[in-house]
């Protein structure tokens, strides 16, 4: 057990939720630092920079979105949001502020552990994207701009390819519609949301086994898309 223990900052005002989340995180081999308020969270993050932050959006002295925004000023550590709200725009705000993923309360421990694992795993990879990727029956070679399915080349249009590359670059992460539009179409992409949906559907038709029930390019309804390997 010489592996460095990942430090997780847990920002949540409800003590009982902290209790079971801490249990689950310790089970994953993490060291947990707890904070019940926005102020304590900022102080904690500054004194011991975390490798992962788990943030509740409704804090007694402010919004979790503010914390994420400030943290992003100096840290690229992944952020998992816990939200009691079902309103999609809260999630979108948190994701646009720099969060990577979210869990809607109530959530199971199994779900939480799976998300934490995924976020911790992708951390070192975020620095440099490997030039060759594979998911399902698809292989992508970023250096050759080549996409293959079952060994057969798949032809993608430039927009489809650009969209795929962005999704591949953020495995497990929820990318908001706004962000995808901006990265694919640039600043003028604001009104193209139906184009985004159509190109996503084309990608699914070309790459997924069952485009109606995709397994890799997932929709987060009302929020955006998530790519999973």
């Amino acid at each position: 057990m010489n592996e460095p223990v990942p430090r997780v900052l847990l920002v949540e005002d409800e003590a009982q939720i902290r209790r079971f989340v801490r249990l689950a995180l310790e089970e994953e081999g993490c060291a947990v630092l707890e904070a019940g308020t926005l102020a304590a969270a900022l102080a904690g993050a500054a004194s011991a920079p975390p490798e992962l932050a788990i943030v509740d959006l409704g804090l007694p002295d402010g919004s979790g979105v503010d914390f994420i925004r400030r943290l992003r000023g100096w840290s690229q550590a992944p952020v998992l949001v816990l939200s009691a709200r079902t309103e999609e725009h809260d999630k979108i705000n948190a994701l646009d502020a720099g969060a990577d993923d979210y869990l809607t309360k109530p959530f199971g421990v199994g779900e939480l552990r799976a998300r934490v694992r995924a976020l911790l795993r992708r951390q070192p990879a975020a620095a440099a994207q490997p030039p060759q990727l594979a998911f399902g029956r698809v292989k992508v070679d970023l250096t050759q701009r080549r996409v293959e399915r079952d060994g057969e080349p798949v032809h993608l249009t430039p927009t489809e390819y650009r969209l795929l590359v962005i999704l591949l670059g953020h495995p497990g992460q929820v990318l908001t519609q706004r962000r995808l539009l901006r990265e694919v179409w640039g600043a003028s992409g604001g009104d193209n949301s139906h184009y985004l949906r159509i190109y996503i559907s084309h990608l699914r038709q070309k790459l997924e086994d069952d485009p109606a029930q995709p397994r890799h390019i997932l929709t987060e309804t009302g929020v955006g898309y998530r790519f999973v390997t």
């Binding site: 939720i17 079971f20 409704g58 009691a84 249009t157 489809e160 559907s201 109606a212």
Partner: protein
């Protein structure tokens, strides 16, 4: 008639002429004793002065009478031979001619000037009155005040009556004898000023405001005002002022209403959010802690683990019901705000199946969507909820491992989506009863549920302008079919591969 009439209007035409003649006669009588002491040339002067005064005071016609009479009286009383029309020296004919011409010209100019001054005065008074009514209209807070201001203006300035008929307001109760509904409607329709020949003196003006025609201003004017030269322009100005005031009030009301709606909406939303937070937090703790029991070291004995799993399931189920109750509260508490966007149906079907993968485990699901399904405009989050509720019902009320189908078909004007199972189906002749709130089917007693799932579906589909109904699946089972309007999808410019 509050306006003081000028002297010219106080007497009728013959009276004015007689007065002009009398003035000349008086001049002749006063000047007669001076005859002989003054030069004849000087004797002309009082007559010219009289003609000038008569023209100014009594108008042009009296002035002309005075001018002619002045020449005659001058000849009779002052030119030798006196007291006769005969003239001793023919040179006096030149005097008469010049005198007549001067007198006529003076009468004409003086009367014209006077007339112009009067017209200018009247115009100024009208302008001031219009300004006054504009000021009152600008300050009006209700259509009633607009009506009152217009009525006061019409009564004071024109001596007439008016009635303001605003589209957005009910017709005032007391009918006016002269008010002609048909004429008012015609003026409103055509947007043109209407003067029904059958009822002289009545005028119907459309209230044409910058954004729309807002109603009709009806007037009944006394004959002298109706014939006035600047009357049409004046009435148009009045109608336009009233129209602008009515339109301003309309937009004030719209703004106030939308502000109130926004405030209500915000309050409702924050109450529901707080409620949602307060209900979900303890449920999250329950689910999480029950789950954590499985992580305890050393592991708990099997019965305790079973209890933990049951606790977790019940807490999760409770959370689901809370979500449904809050959804229903949100949907039924006021106008539903849709975030409609054009999108393929396939995507929301996929995400619903993914969300319900646990509940659907064991049921083979068949998805059949036509290849050329058009884009539809809908709120994805809400339609996902509809599909999830329908799939959840299908899984709950059908035997394990029985098939569930999601199909779509293009009907005229709509796309119909059906979710079908192999369960017992809906009772025949139910007529949409199952879509009511807290309604549960007769066979549902042994299955946990709230009776809200289908009510939520109907609220959402209704908000999209669609329809929802139940059907019996051929071969047994239930189908719920909902239709979404097709609308006009945006034109796409896609890359060619």
């Amino acid at each position: 008639m509050p306006i003081a009439k000028p002297a010219a209007e106080r007497f009728n035409r013959p009276q004015r002429m007689v007065l002009g003649a009398l003035a000349c006669a008086a001049t002749a009588l006063i000047a007669a004793p001076l005859s002989g002491t003054l030069d004849l040339a000087n004797m002309v002067m009082p007559f010219l002065l009289t003609v000038l005064l008569v023209a100014v005071g009594l108008g042009r016609e009296a002035g002309i009478v005075a001018a002619v009479l002045a020449v005659v009286l001058f000849d009779v009383f002052f030119v030798p031979p006196r007291f006769s029309l005969a003239v001793s020296n023919l040179q006096y004919l030149i005097t008469f001619a010049v005198m007549l011409a001067t007198a006529l010209l003076t009468a004409h100019l003086a009367a014209g000037l006077k007339r112009q001054a009067e017209v200018a005065g009247a115009r100024e008074r009208r302008s001031r009155a219009l300004y006054e009514v504009a000021r009152r209209l600008a300050g009006a807070l209700a259509p009633g005040q607009v009506d009152e201001a217009v009525r006061a203006f019409v009564a004071d300035e024109l001596g007439g009556e008016s009635r303001l008929r605003v589209d957005a307001l009910p017709a005032p109760g007391a009918a006016l004898a002269w008010f002609d509904e048909a004429a008012a409607a015609r003026a409103r329709e055509t947007g043109q000023t209407l003067r029904p020949p059958a009822a002289p003196g009545t005028v119907y003006l459309p209230l044409a405001a910058p954004m729309a025609v807002r109603g009709v201003l009806a007037l009944r004017l006394p004959p002298f005002a109706a014939g006035h030269d600047d009357e049409p322009a004046l009435l148009e100005a009045l109608a336009s002022l009233a129209a602008i005031a009515i339109e301003r009030l309309h937009y004030v009301e719209v703004a106030q209403r939308s502000e109130l709606e926004t405030a209500t909406e915000r309050l409702r939303s924050s109450v529901l959010s707080a409620l949602s937070h307060d209900l979900r937090t303890p449920l999250t703790v329950l689910v999480g802690l029950a789950d954590s029991l499985t992580l305890v070291k050393p592991p708990l004995p099997a019965p305790a683990l079973e209890t933990a799993a049951a606790l977790r399931d019940q807490a999760a189920r409770l959370a689901e019901r809370v979500t449904k109750l809050l959804d229903m509260a949100r949907l039924s508490a006021g106008p539903i705000r849709l975030r409609k966007e054009w999108q393929p149906l396939e995507e929301v079907v996929g995400s619903s199946l993914k969300l319900l993968q646990d509940a659907l485990a064991g049921h083979p699901v068949r998805v059949e969507l036509p290849a050329q399904l058009p884009l539809l405009a809908f709120d994805a989050v809400l339609i996902e909820r509809v599909l999830c509720n329908l799939l959840d019902n299908a899984a709950k009320y059908s035997p394990p491992a029985s098939g569930i189908a999601i199909t779509a078909a293009i009907a005229d004007g709509t796309v119909e989506v059906a979710v079908c199972d192999r369960g017992p189906g809906f009772p025949p002749g139910d007529d949409g009863h199952v879509f009511g709130m807290f309604v549960r089917g007769p066979l549902a007693a042994n299955t946990p549920g709230t009776g809200l799932g289908l009510a939520i579906c109907r609220a959402i589909v209704d908000a999209h302008g669609g329809t929802i109904r139940t059907e019996t699946r051929s071969g047994g089972g239930a189908c719920v079919v909902f239709g979404l309007p097709r609308g006009e999808p945006p034109r796409l410019e896609l890359e060619v591969s």
